[in-house]
Every structure is written in structure tokens, then in C-alpha cells.
């Protein structure tokens, strides 16, 4: 591990009874990256983040975060990280201002430094007119901005954000991501979990998680490039019927209806286009065009592959 590595974890595993939430996960996050965790609910995103923060003890595996061995040095690490929980976790019965000054004192910030910092953050996250408002009465977007302000108050080097935008509208999500990139610009490393494809696409690197394992990782471009010639757009007058017809065609991984057309993800071997056209002729005819892959295709391909592997006898 060198100075350029923010997080390095190997063989990270967490079991809750018989349930394996995180299964031998290896992860390296470099400094100043905006690293994304993309995965469905229950894929182990939150559990992994909690272990990296030192809030959960791993069943096995080694973690090094900012040069601290976790969970052993978790308390020392807490001075240098910010953790934004999935659920709004500031006090709803305190005002915006009170929440921030509480967090400043909890981080032992000297009063003289805390006040200007709070003013700066209130300004930066457009909370000026909500200053005296109870946090519980803020809108979803305002809550997220307040939570982010509270998380970065003590200028942490590394931020963990667990599905930060799951409860806000698209406009707020866009603004929120602008703030994240600003923080990254200032040198903060960010680890963000999400189940939104468009958010994952914004990350500098990302890992796709499925059932506690990383099934694909790399830059979004790299991941998209791994699916050449495997995605097709089917235009037909009867999409529902065509979808049923294509569903069990060998070589087809997934068929999704997008408006009036179908998006087909193939396994990548052989003459899928011809076989698609042949099958579609039986159901009334359609056109099949190649199309550029998107992250959803990457996600589906990666999870199907991992589940296919899991079904094979050991």
C-alpha cells in the first residue's frame, strides 16, 4: 500500500449467521477517485461500507484505510473520514444550525474555527434560508445537502456515501453530484454506493456488486467496451409477443422492453442476429439493429454470469 491508495481490502467477508453478506471481496480505491459501488439491494454495498468505516467487524479479511488497519485502528480513522448513512441520520428535532454545531463539537473543532466553517457550508449547500428550520421539516434534497454538509464539516480525506440520492428528485440528484465532484476536485476521495445507472456512469471507477461479490470492475468506459456486438435493438409492432418469443432463445441473456422496442442482450457467441431475425419472422416480423451497450447491459451481463457460475456444481 502506498500513499496513493486510500482503501485496500483483501478477502473481505461478513457473515450474519448463515447468510454471507460479503463474500471474499477484494477492493483497491486510489486517492482522489470517485469510486462507485453499483448493485441491487442486498448485494452487500452497505455492509462493505460499514466494515470499511470500522462500524462492523469483518468475519475475515484485511482492511487498510488511509494507512489505518481496520477494525483495530477504527477510532483513529474516524477523525479522517466522513460517513453519510443511507437513511437521514441527523437529528430531526434540531435545526440546521444546531445539527451542524453539534457535529462540530463532537469532532472537537475549536469554536473559533467551527463557526466560519459552518457559515461556509451553509452558504455552499444553499441552506441559508433554512438555518433556523428543524431538520425534520426539510425537503428530501435539503436533507441530503445538510447530511453532506455534516459529513464534510471536519474536512475528511475520505468520504463514504451510502446510496446518498435514493430519496431525492432528479434535479436534486444532479446538484448533489455537482457537489461531490467539487469535493473530489479539492482532493477528497469518495466511495459512493448507488443503484442508479446514470450515477454509476459518472464515477471515475466502479465495481458491480452482486450477492456480496464484485462481479465486474473498472472505469465505466472499460466496462462498456467489454460488451462488443452483444446488444441489439429490436423494432416490432408487437413487442410483448416478440419478447415472449425471444425469452428462451439460446444465446439471449436478457430482453427488456424500452418503449415500443426491445433491447436484447446476447451472450456474445455466434450468429445471434440471424437467429433473432429467424425467430421474429414466426411472430410477425421485425427489424434487428446493433446498438451501443449501456451500464445496465454491463450490470445484467455481469450478474447473470456470476449467477451462472454459482449454479455450476462445485
Amino acid at each position: 500500500m502506498n500513499d496513493e491508495t486510500a482503501i485496500h481490502a483483501t478477502g473481505l467477508t461478513k457473515r450474519f449467521g448463515h447468510v454471507v453478506a460479503v463474500d471474499h471481496l477484494d477492493l483497491t480505491v486510489r486517492r482522489r477517485e470517485v469510486y462507485g459501488f453499483l448493485g441491487p439491494n442486498g448485494s452487500g454495498k452497505s455492509t462493505t461500507i460499514r466494515m470499511l468505516c470500522g462500524l462492523l467487524n469483518p468475519t475475515s479479511g484485511d482492511i487498510d484505510v488511509l494507512g489505518h488497519s481496520i477494525p483495530r485502528d477504527a477510532e483513529a480513522l474516524k477523525l479522517h473520514i466522513g460517513y453519510m448513512t443511507q437513511r437521514f441520520s441527523l437529528y430531526e428535532d434540531l435545526t440546521v444550525d444546531e445539527n451542524l454545531s453539534f457535529l462540530a463539537s463532537v469532532h472537537d473543532m475549536p469554536r473559533a474555527k467551527a463557526r466560519p466553517r459552518i457559515e461556509e457550508l451553509i452558504e455552499r449547500f444553499w441552506l441559508g434560508s433554512q438555518r433556523k428550520q428543524l431538520a425534520g421539516t426539510l425537503s428530501g434534497g435539503q436533507k441530503q445537502r445538510l447530511a453532506l454538509a455534516g459529513t464534510v464539516l471536519h474536512k475528511p480525506d475520505l468520504l463514504f456515501l451510502d446510496e446518498p440520492t435514493s430519496a431525492v428528485d432528479p434535479q436534486s440528484r444532479r446538484e448533489f453530484w455537482e457537489s461531490l465532484f467539487e469535493l473530489a476536485d479539492e482532493g477528497t476521495t469518495l466511495l459512493v454506493s448507488t443503484h442508479y445507472m446514470d450515477e454509476a456512469e459518472r464515477c471515475t471507477r466502479l465495481a458491480i456488486l452482486d450477492r456480496g461479490r464484485i462481479v465486474a470492475d473498472g472505469t465505466p468506459q472499460h466496462l462498456l467496451a467489454s460488451l462488443p456486438g452483444r446488444t441489439w435493438l429490436v423494432t416490432t409492432s408487437e413487442p410483448r409477443r416478440a419478447q415472449r418469443a425471444l425469452h428462451d432463445l439460446p444465446g439471449v441473456i436478457a430482453v427488456a422492453q424500452i418503449g415500443t422496442s426491445l433491447r436484447v442482450l446476447g451472450s456474445g457467441d455466434g450468429d445471434l442476429k440471424q437467429r433473432l431475425e429467424a425467430r421474429l419472422r414466426e411472430t410477425g416480423g421485425a427489424t434487428v439493429e446493433p446498438t451501443a451497450p449501456n451500464l445496465e447491459d454491463v450490470f445484467v451481463a455481469a450478474t447473470v454470469k456470476s449467477r451462472g457460475d454459482a449454479r455450476e456444481p462445485a
Binding site: L55, L56, Y83, T85, V106
Partner: protein, 363 residues
């Protein structure tokens, strides 16, 4: 431990409390209501026992005696019976709890003093009334020495509560009861609430330490406990004229230690439970032995040994000794040091276990 961090928790708790109107109302409302209810209702004195008189003698002396009995206030003579059967019927129906029977040869019996001149029939199905009957048996009847000398009084000589007013005994105990019920609950839900609302996950990701968190949650409620103590004491003085024979400062010192003991117990409950509901259930579970065994309801000396050992471990037992000693007997707190020390040990044990259970981990 950082004082700034500790202070931030205290300030935060007070701010939250200020906005929690229901809890705020309970701080003053609960002690007031309980004091008024218990102060007036818990009354072990027997007064106004419904009584019938069957005066078969009907002489000047017998009438004087009946008037004397009525004057004690223990009996309320509401029925005049004309036959023993009528007395029996009244008692069976529950109309009366006692009857005074004066036989036709009342005068002769008084002269000869060979047989009881008066019979007091009581309803034995009620313990308290039986006890009252024993008092009535002590009613002075001195034969022909003249009734007026025997100023009828069934009052038992009573050292610290000469008027035998129950409120004098109940109010000091009520200070303890009220503090037990409110203080334990306040802190029992304190940590659990943070967990339920998701605040704890945020909090444990900060540098705050278990001691700061635990002590910071207790400190604000000490002030509230002292406010409640004041409410009960002032009302006790105004409504029931309960005396304070010892030092007021010492009384507050005892209350302070007792409040801290209850808050420590509460915070321990908070670390043992997962939801606010569980915390409340567990708090109520600790109330029952305190009410029953501490000496609040039943005299400590009358309990079997094993129950006394259990009672020694309860904070209310020790507080009752302190508060009764200071308020009613005018004792000096230094004379009551074993109880003060017992409370100190209780606090130390509860807090240590609680802090060791506050893990900055989610699993």
C-alpha cells in the same frame, strides 16, 4: 474524555427535550398528579368506619359512651339497630363494618366488672378494619369512675407523626417513587431512541467516546430530577403540610445521588434493549420490586430475610431511609452514610456495565 464533546451531547439533549412538549409536560405533570393522587388516596388510618349501635341498656351512661366513641372519629355511627339480628344483617350486606353492642345489663356489668360491658363487633374480612378494632379495644372504660375523666381517645402514641396523618409518611416516599418512575424511563429510552431513529450509526462514525455519550445523556436529566424533587417538596408542604425537620441541602444531596442512581439504571437498560418498547417494558419490570420491597408499601422490617436482601440492592430502599431520616426524624446525612454509600456503589456498577456495553459497532 473531552469536555467539549461531553458538553455538546448535554446541550443537544436539552435542545431536543425543549422541543419535546409531551415529555416536558410530563416532567411537571407526573409528579403533581402522583402526589395529589397518592397523597390523598394512600391513607392507612381508619377513619369514619360505618358503624351501627345496638344500645339495649339505653341509660345516660350508655348514651354518653356511644357519643364518646363517635367523637374519636374512628367510627361513624350511621345506624341505630334494634336487635342483634339487624346488626348481623347490616354487616352481611356490607352496610356497616363495625357495631357497638351495649347489653341490657350494661350498668350492672360496669359495677361488677366481671364481664365485658361493651362488645365491638367488627367485619373480620378486612385486615385494616381488624387492626382498627384492636385500637378500639384500648378505648378506656373505667367503670363508675366517671366517663368524663376518660377523655375518649383511641389515638396510639406516635412519635414522628403524632397526628397519624398518612401524607406525612407517603410524601417523602413519593419523592422516591416519582423519581424512580420518571428518571429510569428518561434514560432507558435515550440510547435506544437514537438507534431507532438511525442517529446512532452517524454518531458512532464520529470520534465521540462511550463515556462521553453515556454521561452526556445522564447529566441533563439530573437537573430535571432536581426540578421534580422541588415540585413534590413544595406541593407536599403546601397541600399536606409535610414537615422538613432536617437540612434542605442534605435532602437535595440525597436526591441528587438517588437521581443519578436511577439514571444509571436507565442507561443500562438502554444498552440492553433494541427498541423503545422493550426499554419501557424492562423499566416497568424494575419498578415493581422497588415499589413492593423498598419499604414504600410495606414495612421493611416485616419482610422475610431473602426479600430484605433483594431490597438492599434497590436504590429506592436506600433513598427512603435517607429521605425519611432527613425529613421526618431530622437526621443528619452523616448518620445515614451507609445508604448514601450503597447508592454510590450502585451508580458505579450500573455506569461501568453500561459504558462497557456501549460499543461503537453496529454488530
Amino acid at each position: 474524555m473531552s469536555l467539549r464533546r461531553l458538553g455538546s451531547i448535554v446541550v443537544k439533549e436539552l435542545r431536543q427535550l425543549r422541543r419535546d412538549r409531551l415529555t416536558f409536560a410530563m416532567i411537571i405533570g407526573i409528579p403533581t398528579m402522583q402526589l395529589i393522587l397518592f397523597g390523598y388516596a394512600i391513607n392507612l388510618d381508619v377513619r369514619n368506619l360505618e358503624t351501627a349501635v345496638l344500645d339495649q341498656a339505653d341509660t345516660a351512661r350508655s348514651r354518653e359512651l356511644v357519643a364518646g366513641l363517635a367523637a374519636t372519629g374512628v367510627m361513624h355511627i350511621g345506624h341505630v339497630a334494634s336487635s342483634p339480628q339487624e346488626v348481623e344483617a347490616l354487616m352481611r350486606a356490607g352496610e356497616i363494618s363495625a357495631a357497638v353492642v351495649l347489653p341490657p345489663d350494661f350498668e350492672t356489668r360496669l359495677e361488677r366488672r366481671d364481664r365485658p360491658a361493651i362488645q365491638i363487633v367488627v367485619d373480620g374480612s378486612e385486615q385494616v378494619i381488624q387492626a382498627a378494632a384492636r385500637q378500639l379495644a384500648a378505648f378506656p372504660v373505667r367503670g363508675n369512675q366517671g366517663w368524663t375523666d376518660a377523655t375518649a381517645s383511641v389515638e396510639v402514641v406516635n412519635f414522628y407523626n403524632p397526628e397519624r396523618r398518612a401524607a406525612v409518611n407517603t410524601v417523602p416516599g413519593l419523592v422516591g417513587m416519582i423519581l424512580t418512575m420518571t428518571m429510569v424511563l428518561f434514560t432507558a429510552i435515550a440510547l435506544v431512541r437514537e438507534r431507532e431513529r438511525g442517529n446512532l450509526e452517524m454518531l458512532i462514525a464520529t470520534p465521540v467516546s462511550p463515556w462521553e455519550l453515556t454521561v452526556g445523556k445522564i447529566v441533563p436529566f439530573i437537573g430535571i430530577g432536581l426540578v421534580q424533587t422541588t415540585v413534590v417538596l413544595v406541593l407536599g408542604d403546601v397541600l399536606f403540610d409535610v414537615p422538613l425537620r432536617g437540612s434542605l441541602a442534605e435532602l437535595y444531596l440525597a436526591a441528587l445521588v438517588f437521581i443519578t442512581a436511577n439514571l444509571s439504571l436507565g442507561i443500562l437498560i438502554s444498552t440492553l434493549t433494541k427498541t423503545q418498547f422493550q426499554a419501557m417494558q424492562m423499566s416497568f419490570f424494575t419498578f415493581l420490586p422497588q415499589i413492593l420491597l423498598s419499604g414504600f408499601m410495606f414495612p421493611f422490617a416485616g419482610m422475610p430475610k431473602p426479600a430484605q436482601y433483594v431490597a438492599e440492592a434497590l436504590p429506592l430502599t436506600h433513598f427512603l431511609r435517607l429521605v425519611r431520616g432527613i425529613m421526618l426524624r431530622g437526621a443528619d446525612i452523616t448518620e445515614l452514610w451507609p445508604s448514601l454509600m450503597a447508592l454510590g456503589i450502585f451508580i458505579a456498577i450500573m455506569l461501568t456495565i453500561a459504558v462497557s456495553r456501549v460499543r461503537k459497532r453496529l454488530d
